[in-house]
Symmetry: C2
Amino acid sequence: MSLITVGTMAFDAIETPFGKVDKIIGGSATYVAYAASNFIKPVQQISIIGNDFPENEINELKKRGVQMDGVEMVQDKKSFFWSGRYHLDMNSRDTLVTDLNVLEDFNPVVPDSYQGSEFLMLGNVMPKLQLSVINQLKKRPKLIVMDTMNFWMDVALDDLKEVIAKVDVLLVNDSEARQLSGEFSLVKAARKILSMGPSYLIIKKGEHGALLFHKNHVFFAPALPLEDVFDPTGAGDTFAGGFIGHLAKTKDISFDNMKTAIIVGSALASFCVEKFGPDRMKEITSKDIEERISEFVQLVNFDIDLV
Amino acid sequence: MSLITVGTMAFDAIETPFGKVDKIIGGSATYVAYAASNFIKPVQQISIIGNDFPENEINELKKRGVQMDGVEMVQDKKSFFWSGRYHLDMNSRDTLVTDLNVLEDFNPVVPDSYQGSEFLMLGNVMPKLQLSVINQLKKRPKLIVMDTMNFWMDVALDDLKEVIAKVDVLLVNDSEARQLSGEFSLVKAARKILSMGPSYLIIKKGEHGALLFHKNHVFFAPALPLEDVFDPTGAGDTFAGGFIGHLAKTKDISFDNMKTAIIVGSALASFCVEKFGPDRMKEITSKDIEERISEFVQLVNFDIDLV
């Protein structure tokens, strides 16, 4: 059993009300890999990096069972760089700088060694690139999960819809669900989006948790109320990595197991925000994860004996 | 077993993105009474109305076991009137008109027939009035639940803190919890507020659910994702009425039963928003309530077999 992840590996500069870092490892594929590798090996990475991406960071990921055959290294360019500043509520942020650098040349190639993988996580990149990866796979994976963002709805909606029609699970946040569907009610939005192709829709609401829609079913997972949210960067990708990592580990893609996978993803994301960048993800053990998941059980557990 | 509720009985004019009504019955005590009377009789109302409050509305409440001995009727004045317009997100609203009318004279008197009641719901009125009701009770109720709002934090903070120190459960929304505590993190805010006196704190987050804090425990109840939120007016009071109504019915004020009570309150509130004013609350049956509570169980129920 293996998992292919497609996305960025990058540098971020982050400013939150609690501090700032000038240059820290980031990118959607990095966070997905850190989260998913707690559950499944190998994680088969597809990405692109420049000459400045630190070797020790690559080695750190390799030690966790992340394969780099699909990561292109461009010798004469720098890695993708993003810089942003979070508002006090941590749910909104301003992008200060976006230096595409190597990302301008990203043309993902699926190595032969990745063929036959049963799980595919399409991180948030240009829809045409997501589609290219799907088309390169000789056998359709058992489960394709796709993340995206409002930017692609603005500039590449037709491409985006073409990819959405081919995936099993779509991940968006609440405002993206509203934009994509044209519906304000998330229940109506979900119905419209499910009619575009995917069997499952996950609407992420940040500190307000996440909703999973499937046919006429809906499941809600809360976010853990935390003392401090230090840095939300990568929380969505970490959630996605935990989600698909649990599914790949258990090889069970039923609705019931997706509910558990959402709790696992939420637990992983709750660690991610405790430190800058992926720092916290490098520390946590499987015991930490189990304990955190127990906190989620406590958080929502109630008796329904209403007599 | 009986329940005293203190609050307003009023007229509202409401504008939402889905429609408007010029004059409909409202007020915190009205909504609490409609919700709580599904579970407990009598509901002993303390309020004040003008000469314009419709007799058929009074009779409707009486039929549900709501006692009116504590409701003062002022012959030469009109009832309290509030008018507001909701924004598209339904979580925020502008107040257009506030005509205090009889509310200027509100000086709640606890009738002898209400003495000995074991549950007290202090709806959102001036803190001095809430305090006066507590002081008039010859025997302290088994449970005092208090609602309030940011307005009293601005203009009567010392009085408010005096009442808060005397109650068991405080209900506020997230921005009020932040204002009252001076903490942005809701976990830190809860700790500070619990140190002010109450054993339990409920932080209402509207469509994002509600959190219950007690000592080091926290419980989260989601709001039901709805096709349409038609009119959120009274949802918070309906939640409070369902919450204390369930506790009064079961006579069990343990943390575990409070969790169930929050689910019951959330279920009641999810009906309230389906029509303008308390219209939907007049229709629902105990079968409707049971079915809605089952939907909440489905919504958050997951298997945590992580092997």
